[in-house]
Symmetry: C2
Subunit: 456 residues, 2 copies
């Protein structure tokens, strides 16, 4: 991979400037107001894939945001790698907390600050540039297919349909995904698992209009008080989730697996300092690493109701809302959990209110065996560029689509991510290290090389 | 009061058009954006008092919104009535739920729809017009003083200072207030008591920034979940407030008082139908009327935190907020309850979060003896215009300033209100019946007449 690495070395600045172009497009998939920008981002990816040398590059329409497809099939006897990623990003709210505008990429302390810099535009672009390097240097070891979607942040519903309708075209020996994090820049790691997700929105309707809290207070159910009581009751004093059947299918890790996990480098003090919290908080009987990866959770992602303006308004609100999501672990079914939540939440509503539950989106958890050839190839590739073997970890986040790939295409995904948990993805001031961006581009060609060797 | 009543009769349309002018001024005291409008409303009142014949009318500056003062002192041997009211209004949010614009008064089904139509511009204006009628007809039976403030909806803090600094000028034999409701248009009533208020804002700070709920969910305290748990814990399964010492000073009504209260006309079915609720909800062991008047309450008036935009965002929020108010009953001290709440709320915060409590405003409960001459005068005045005696009731709302009047000036207030609980004050589509507006103007002169007679 000499020539490829040289090509990368001599084009670093151009690669970065191109990424900046992509980061300037506010492709927020959750908000209809950005529909046009999401499409612009897709068209931009199409153009760059063509320039990099991909064939049959096209923008595949869906009922929602388009999927970008492209391929380079050099020899049918060689293994095929399907690269998956997404060009859509999370909303930038709260925008006022950004030090520099979310869609105006800025370099500070060797880091690229912008929404999507790490999740996932920066990591998607590593693949396009690594492909360009291998292709231009005549060192491409495998066939490549690209599938870059625009709805990962809102559940990948349309990609699911696209996958089901294109099983032939998407056939490959492995799916390569860079949409996750390593432990640290000097501690490379690869996620051997991901959590699933069930995301719902709830509405508690009290009286048919806002009321005066003096005239009606104490006599009429206050939907905000009730919503707080209902949410609070979903967890017990050990921070275990109280929804009947919730833990039924949870895969309990063996003592030896937990012991192995305990070996993962982790500095609790630094963790608390970084977040400015006096203590961690979670399910009794589990470590912080376990709570954030192998255990299911229930978090309120947003809540609103009543008067939230300046000053004081003595109102008894008519309605209260909350967005609630649960992270799931292997064996838990997203649909089943969504049903269990809905059934339970409706059942605990007092007579004085009406409750509505609306599922947003979900996805299944995923496990990648560490002895899989693709996992080994990724591990060896990182060992070359980082100078030390990658540690297998279990990720707390969700990439619902990888479980679907396995189900529909029968292909495993290797999660070779180059971000860091401290990159503030989904938060203000999201960033991605220049070190990480370039290290990713350098590592990917070695993955292709190792995968070709190990696969045969 | 012949001439006065004739004057009223022949000027009804003008009175209404003038009130419309006042209702068009968006004098929202809670929102700094309306500061100029609040002042315009004050200046408008000044002008109308002068035209009605009041002397020494002036706009008294305060650090906040101004107080309007005016007087007509005809004979130092006659009793003096101090009329109190407020020209500021509640915010109009949620504006989208108004059928017609909140600051464009509209008549529908014999009712004036506008923010402040009942609370309290409409009722304040009844007094100005009743005074004009008595004055122009040479039938004014007592000396009159007017004190109309612009901060009732935000706690009357500056009026409190004004009152303390003007005890001489404000001397009177009774304070007459129309800022409350009757049972029904055919069931006149007078409030013999009001609830106090303690209003606070709480902030629960978790991590120093929004986090990815997959990466950190389950391991870091979620401030929204925590806030819900803390709020839920403030009430037990009997809907009793759990703050230590909260009920210590609560005045328990005697069995006979409760029996008398039970005689008040009340239709539970109509009440639930009007609000479209399947059941009422409140403290065990008390009736709806009791829960809404003689028992203290705790209501969340507003809550917000995390992502509340369109779609789904898998964020673990950094902070959560709530506005919480407690209605208090006689003998409970607003300051003491505010302290008890703050102390308790801070004490129940888990280690993983930081909690801040900020008091907004408060006020003491108030009781008016039904055998007080002013209460008798009001009762007899209503009997003349409604054709039946007024029923004494206990109001659930708060007019913090009346307790202060008694403390600072040693003067009792009579709460002769002409609104209805169904007028949607503090809600979208606030309204005030034309019947009520005119009936108030007609009744007030008789109060002056009766008060003069009974006082001597």
């Amino acid at each position: 991979m000499q020539a490829s690495q040289q090509f990368i070395n001599s084009n670093k600045e151009r690669f970065l400037q191109e990424l900046f172009e992509l980061l300037r497009i506010p492709s927020v998939s959750a908000d209809p107001a950005y529909k046009g920008d999401v499409r612009r981002a897709a068209e931009w990816i199409v153009e760059k894939l063509r320039v990099a040398g991909a064939d049959n590059v096209r923008l595949e329409e869906t009922p929602g945001h388009p999927v970008v497809y492209g391929e380079k099939l050099i020899d049918s006897t060689l293994p095929t790698v399907l690269v998956y990623g997404h060009y859509d990003v999370q909303p930038a709210d709260p925008v006022n907390l950004w030090e520099t505008p979310p869609f105006e990429p800025t370099i500070r302390d060797e880091k690229i600050y912008a929404r999507g810099s790490c999740d996932d535009k920066g990591q998607v672009y590593m693949h396009i540039k690594a492909f360009e390097a291998m292709n231009q240097s005549g060192e491409l070891p495998c066939n490549v297919k690209f599938m870059i979607e625009g709805e990962e942040e809102i559940g990948s519903d349309n990609l699911e349909v696209f996958v089901k309708n294109n099983k032939e075209r998407l056939q490959a020996d492995v799916i390569l995904v860079s949409d996750s994090a390593m432990i640290a820049n000097d501690i490379p790691s690869i996620e051997s698992g991901l959590r699933g997700l069930s995301y719902l929105e709830v509405k508690v309707q009290g009286p048919n209009k806002d009321l005066h809290s003096g005239v009606y207070g104490g006599a009429v159910a206050n939907p905000v008080n009730i919503l707080c009581q209902m949410i609070a009751s979903l967890q017990d004093e050990f921070n275990r989730i109280t929804i009947p059947g919730f833990y039924e299918d949870v895969e309990e890790l063996s003592a030896s697996d937990r012991a192995a996990m305990a070996q993962t480098p982790f500095d609790l003090e630094a963790y608390q300092k970084e977040l400015d919290i006096a203590a961690v908080h979670g399910e009794s009987g589990y470590t912080t690493l376990e709570r954030a990866s192998i255990r299911p959770t229930l978090d309120v992602n947003g809540i609103w109701g009543g008067y939230i303006g300046e000053g004081a308004k003595t109102v008894l609100p008519s309605v209260a809302h909350a967005k609630i999501s649960m992270r799931l672990v292997p064996n838990q079914s997203s649909n089943k959990i969504t049903e269990l939540f809905t059934k339970h939440f409706l059942s605990i509503a007092p007579k004085g209110v009406k409750v509505m539950v609306t599922p947003h989106h979900g996805g299944e958890a995923y496990v990648m065996p560490t002895d899989h050839v693709a996992f080994q190839a990724a591990s060896e590739a990182m060992e070359i560029t980082f100078g030390k073997p990658a540690i297998p970890t279990r990720g707390g986040g969700s990439i619902p689509i990888v479980a679907l790939f396995e189900k529909e295409l029968g292909i495993k995904s290797v999660l070779m991510g180059f971000g860091l948990d401290s990159d503030d993805i989904h938060s203000p001031n999201e960033h991605f290290g220049l070190f990480n961006f370039y290290k990713g581009i350098e590592t990917i060609p070695y993955f292709f090389q190792k995968f070709k060797q190990l696969h045969s």
